[in-house]
Structures are given as structure tokens and as C-alpha cells.
């Protein structure tokens, strides 16, 4: 187990370095590097000074080394717009995004897995078909448009929920969270629901497919031949088998939800890192863009790593260290 974990950790770090290199190349080498790093409003003197100060007249690899060193110290430049270190800006906004993503994922799981199970057990019944039809709809609806419709319905038409912003926050473990207040929940409801719909449909489909395949397996027949009540056949035998791939997907999708939050945050003006990214792209605040990319990539790689390790822990068939005795 340890050897496997270390190996995966090494791989993850390698990917991180490669990605940082790619981001570096993208930002520093494509186009005029000075343009990318210096405030577009700066005049010629500023540019020359910046060029020298940023070491842009030095060889490429040396620049990359400087960049890496800075990155490792958490220094990714200062935001043009807010004039604070870019990384600080990102980290300030990250809790809001994580809260949104977490809430969305929770909703998706709580609804998606049971619905998918039902759809897989009774694929031809009207409830099974309705669930599947619903999942195709949920899967096809562009997230941003659903957000619009939600605002139309719940804010403009019914006036029940606020159309933008984050609600009142309280500090939990040093981090501001909003789901603990009623006002916070009112603000969280629509964005979380919006973000959840796509993943929910995905989970329904995945669970349904897994259930349908599992039901065809011999071990289900054998479990029934043992006279086990259907509740146990499904709840233990089938569920445990399908949970393994589902858990992996959930883990991987968590990263995707964080990325997709960009859209939801834009629509609902949710003050998270995604909204910050879009604003930065539109305002040409490049250090923030770089900081966002690197932070997100790191989160991703970390999630992938954890999921990989978890998967091997969950599936007893994956032998991690000592050779299995099966012959």
C-alpha cells in the first residue's frame, strides 16, 4: 500500500510540474510576455522597467526557474486590479466556491444514487422511464440556461429566492461558511441546485447502468438462490459492487464541479474563485488568471491522487503490495 501511494504521489508531483510548465509557457511565451504581466495601462518607461524587474530579458529557462521558485513560495505576482498578491485573492474566494461545489455534489449524490438504483431495478416501468427521461433532460440542459430559468422563476416571477450574491456567513474552523444561516441557505439554494443538475443526471445514468449490469451477474442469481430477501440482494450485493466505480466517479466529478462552478458563479454573482477568474479574464488581470489556474490544477491533481488511493483501498481485488495467493 505504501509503495503504491508513494508512486502515485510521485506521479502527481510530476504532473503538477508539467502543468506549471505549460501554464508558464502559455502565459510567458505566447505573445508578448511584457504585455501579459504588466498593467496594460502602463507607459513605455513602465514597460522597460518591468521588463528588467521581471527578468524578461533573461534566458527562458532562467525565467522558468524564477517563476517556479516564486510559485513555491506562494508568490505568483500581484493583481493589477486589486493590487494584492494574486494568490491571496484566490485563496480568499476559494471557500465560497468549495461551499457551492460541496453543496451541489451533496444534492447530486443524495438524489442521484437512489433514483438511479430505482431506474436500474425497474427499467421498463413508468417510474424507471420517467427517471431516465428526466436524466437525459438534466444532462442536456446547459447549466447556464437552467440558471437563467431558475432566476426567472424563483426570483422574478415568484420572488422567493434572491437572484444573486452569497448570504450571511459565519466562521467555521477559521473559514467563512454560509450554509449555517437561513439567509445563507436562501442564497445557496439556487446556485447549488443549478450546479447539481448536471451531475445528478450523470449519477442517475451511471447508477442505472451499473445496476442493470450488476443484476445480470451470476452472484446476484446465487444470492437469490440462497433465498436472501430482495432488500439484501440489492442493498448489499448489488450496491457494494456498483459503489466502487460510482465513488471514483464522484471523486473525479468533484473536481469538475469546482471548475464548472465558474458558470454558476457568473450567473448568480456568487463571490467565488470562478467569478474571479471570469472577471480577471475580461479585465486582463493576468497574474490572477495564472494563480487561479495553478491553484485549480493543484486541487485537481490532489483529488485524482486521493481518488486513486481510495479506489485501491475499496476494491479488495486490487492487490497493492504483497502478491495475492490466488492461483
Amino acid at each position: 500500500m505504501l509503495a503504491f501511494t508513494l508512486r502515485r504521489l510521485g506521479q502527481s508531483l510530476l504532473v503538477l510540474v508539467v502543468m506549471s510548465f505549460l501554464v508558464f509557457v502559455g502565459v510567458y511565451a505566447i505573445g508578448n510576455p511584457v504585455e501579459l504581466l504588466v498593467n496594460p495601462q502602463a507607459d513605455e518607461v513602465e514597460r522597460l522597467r518591468a521588463t528588467a524587474a521581471l527578468g524578461l530579458d533573461k534566458p527562458f529557462l532562467e525565467q522558468y526557474a524564477t517563476f517556479l521558485r516564486g510559485a513555491l513560495h506562494g508568490d505568483l505576482g500581484r493583481s493589477f486590479v486589486y493590487n494584492v498578491p494574486a494568490i491571496q485573492l484566490i485563496l480568499d474566494k476559494l471557500p465560497a466556491t468549495l461551499e457551492l461545489a460541496g453543496a451541489a455534489m451533496l444534492v447530486a449524490m443524495a438524489l442521484g444514487i437512489p433514483l438511479g438504483l430505482v431506474a436500474g431495478l425497474k427499467p421498463t416501468s413508468w417510474i424507471g422511464r420517467t427517471i431516465m427521461a428526466g436524466s437525459i433532460l438534466g444532462f442536456s440542459l446547459p447549466t447556464f440556461w437552467v440558471g437563467l430559468v431558475l432566476i426567472m422563476l424563483f426570483s422574478v416571477h415568484l420572488g422567493w429566492l434572491p437572484p444573486n450574491g452569497r448570504g450571511q456567513t459565519v466562521v467555521l474552523l477559521g473559514v467563512p461558511v454560509s450554509f449555517l444561516t437561513l439567509d445563507g441557505l436562501r442564497h445557496l439554494a439556487m446556485p447549488a441546485a443549478n450546479l447539481a443538475i448536471f451531475k445528478l443526471s450523470l449519477l442517475v445514468r451511471l447508477t442505472r447502468a451499473g445496476t442493470r449490469e450488476a443484476l445480470l451477474q451470476d452472484y446476484v442469481k446465487f444470492a437469490r438462490a440462497k433465498g436472501l430477501p430482495p432488500r439484501r440482494v440489492i442493498g448489499v450485493h448489488v450496491l457494494k459492487n456498483i459503489m466502487i466505480p460510482i465513488v471514483t466517479v464522484i471523486g473525479l466529478e468533484l473536481g469538475s464541479v469546482i471548475a464548472f462552478a465558474v458558470v454558476t458563479e457568473s450567473i448568480f454573482a456568487w463571490p467565488g474563485s470562478g467569478k474571479l477568474l471570469i472577471d480577471s479574464i475580461n479585465q486582463l488581470d493576468r497574474p490572477v488568471i495564472v494563480a487561479y489556474l495553478l491553484v485549480t490544477v493543484t486541487i485537481f491533481i490532489a483529488i485524482n491522487f486521493v481518488v486513486d488511493v481510495l479506489y485501491s483501498a475499496l476494491d479488495p481485488r486490487v492487490s497493492l503490495g504483497a502478491a495475492a495467493s490466488a492461483h
Binding site: I30, I136, F144, I151, A259, T296, F300
Partner: protein, 308 residues
Amino acid sequence: MNSAAGDTPLVTEAPAAARSPWRRFASEFAESRIAMAGLLLLAAIVVVAIAAPWLSPQNPYDLAQLDVLDSKLAPGEHSSSTGKPYWLGTDDQGRDMLSGIFYGLRISLSVGIASTAIALAIGLVLGLAAAYFEGWVDTAIMRVADIQLSFPAILIALILLAMMGQGTGKIIAALVTVQWAYYARTVRSAALVERRKEYIEAARALALSQPRILFRHLLPNCLPPLIVVATVQVAHAISLEATLSFLGLGLPITEPSLGLLIANGFQYLLSGKYWISFYPGLALLATIVSINLVADQLRDVLNPRLKR
């Protein structure tokens, strides 16, 4: 073994008529009424997209045809100048929404299909190469594909567009980059299974040239899963492009896809002028749903493991 003395001629039973695989495929596909409905809807959308210039009541991008006094009219209201009805209302520039949607469909579909086709071609070549040559070629290609697939599509697209800037070609490039890995992986898996089969051994034994083996023999058998993936991916590409356009990072305003139309109408949502965003959204939804319905049935029909 005693020989059969006194055998009388036996009735030979006629073998069940073999149906050609195409007809069987078509009839299996048609079993799902929902999928057929999806197919019909999709066909209608494609026709509209192709015939947009002729079907639209107005060319919304010809400034001469616009009357800014007609702006933000609700669906069903009439033009103050020509008296013609605007079936789905107008936007803030007085553009007819219905026409805008027709043209928008055209652009959304073209971008989606073009990017899918290019990504398919690239992924196909790389996947086949990986499966056929194995060794370091395989590892290299698959490593890159795996890493890329572990990041969500939208993030990759955002990174690319943040670096490259806007423009139709850049959007297509981003969409292609996001998709190629799916095809490469699918083709490679299918090819790996196929190449172990005997007919490839036979072809090799006949010393057929490698490209010939690849294209004439391996490829046709890898097609079914590829078709399913490609169909779904077109829907994804259209959706992704719409999302990117909505965020302002997508197609330029001179080629407004449905996403851009929706973005345009967003600001008027809170004042109740929902139609500027809502109807383009419906059109987008219809397109994606119909593609997904078709893709679902394709997957069920082509999946060997679900065959009873």
C-alpha cells in the same frame, strides 16, 4: 456405427432468413419511440440550420433590415414600421428573435460538428497508432490523453482561451483539444480488442501492408463505439461552446451562436424581458436533447453486453 439402412429423405428445414445488419440495426433503433422522436427533431433542426437564410423572416445581421424602434418587443407584437409580427419578440437592437435563433442554430451546429469531426480524425489516427504500434508510442499518447482527461473540459477550454484570446478558429481549436482524447481512448480500446482477433493474424500472415490492415480491417470494427462517442460529443461541444460564448470567451459577436444570444439577453432578465434569453435557450436545449436521445439509443443498440 451401423449405417443408416433404409433412410428416407428428411425434410430440410429452411434456415431463418438472414437480415442484413443495416436493416437489423435500423429496426432495433426504431424500437424506441422516444429515440425516433429525437431523430425527427434533430432532422428538423438540421434542416432549419441549413436553410436559415431562406427560412428566416429577417436577416438579423443586416443592419439595413433592423429598426431600432422595434427593440425589446414581446413575442407576438408587431413591428411599428412594417407591421409584421415578431413571433418570438425582438432583442435590444430590434433583431427578430426567431431569425436570430435560426442563424444561431446554424453557427452552433457548425461549430459543434466541425470541432467534433476534426477531433474525431485526430483521435482516430492517434488511437489506432497507439493500439497498433504499442510500446512507447502507445504509452506516450495514452499518458497525454489520460492527463488531459483527468481535467474537466471547461477548465482546459478556459485555460486555452485565456491564453489564446477570442476568435472562431480558437474556439474550434479549444473544442478539438478538449475532445480528441475521448476518441483516441475509445478507438484504442476497441482496436486492442480487435487486433487480438484472428482476422488480423490472418491479414498479417498474408503480409498485407500495415496501413491497409489498419484502415481496411481494424477500423470498421472499431466504428460502433466511436459512433456513440462522437454523437454524444457533438452535444457536448455545442453545449460547451454555448457556455463559453455565454461567459464572453467564445465566438465573436459577428457570429452569434445561441450562447451569445442567451448572454445578450441576460441583462434584461430581471426586468421581465425573458424572451431574449429564454427562446434561444429552448432552441439550444432542443438540439442537445435530440442529439442525446439519438445517442442513447445508439449506445443501447450497439452495446454487445446488453444483448439478450
